[in-house]
Subunit: 157 residues, 2 copies
Amino acid sequence: MTSITDLILETFRLNGDLLSAGDELVADLDLTSARWQVLGAIGMASSALPVAHIARNMGVSRQAVQRIVNELETRHLLQFMPNPHHQRAKLVSLTKKGRVVFDAAMERQRPWADWLSNDLSSEDIELAFRVLKALRSKLEFRYNLQPKESSNVEEFA
Amino acid sequence: MTSITDLILETFRLNGDLLSAGDELVADLDLTSARWQVLGAIGMASSALPVAHIARNMGVSRQAVQRIVNELETRHLLQFMPNPHHQRAKLVSLTKKGRVVFDAAMERQRPWADWLSNDLSSEDIELAFRVLKALRSKLEFRYNLQPKESSNVEEFA
DNA sequence: CATATATTGACAAGATATTGTCATATTGAC
DNA sequence: GTCAATATGACAATATCTTGTCAATATATG
């Protein structure tokens, strides 16, 4: 019989393996899972966003994102642009090079995702997703989680 | 429609929230999620094990466990015992204090786990568990993951 | 407008984890 | 028994992330 504890431990292990696999998948693009996730949060956004917004969207701390963003800016994958609404909170966007690298990563991710899921029915994936989401919602409600730092604010776009 | 990618991102987020919740759950026992997990791997084992074995059981690197184990030994929750099969690889076991703290954490975990899962059917939990496990197996097979360092060896009991 | 409150990025400290290297110890092939 | 291969813990370097603090900047309430 499977307990919720088994599911929790399985989540920890899968998380680790996903990060390892992601690292390997994009290593030759000079990316890591962490960089890829940040790049993704920016590449998928409808418009350029300040670091703090990206962090909230991702559900991690502001400083974690700040460090990666600064690193990616040094590598010319990201650039800071003036923010008409805020002098200090510059808007972060992909450079041309950043777009190319991000697109390359996504190209690679597509067949990889197909491979990973081709044994599973979409119903199974859907249900697993809903279970995980239910657990997360409950934790975030109970423990006031998610923002991790600073408070919750929506897009301003 | 839910894609495997959604499930992956959900796994990342749930992982983070579980660690945060775990930290809070055992903070006043002077534990953290990381320490608790190590304590658990030792407390649940049928016999005392060397650090490298514990790491393999947990699926994390040897050094991650070594650091925590050394820390918990300093705090007198763990102790090193001579290993008849290996001079350097001492066996790690709970001290009396370690057992008390670990039991206290487990006492606390039980009702918390019930609370977390009381909305979900055991079928849903079971299925989610099997989906995650299937993904993990596939990743570990494809990427030669898990041991993370050194090779795979079974218990020597 | 004025002022309390929020947000933001910078900076620093620390927690957690991986990776590489090394010397030592153990194991296995022959 | 010898010797190559492997396992182990120590040590060091690095990656990732969180938390706390601070000054500057916005925002909101009066």
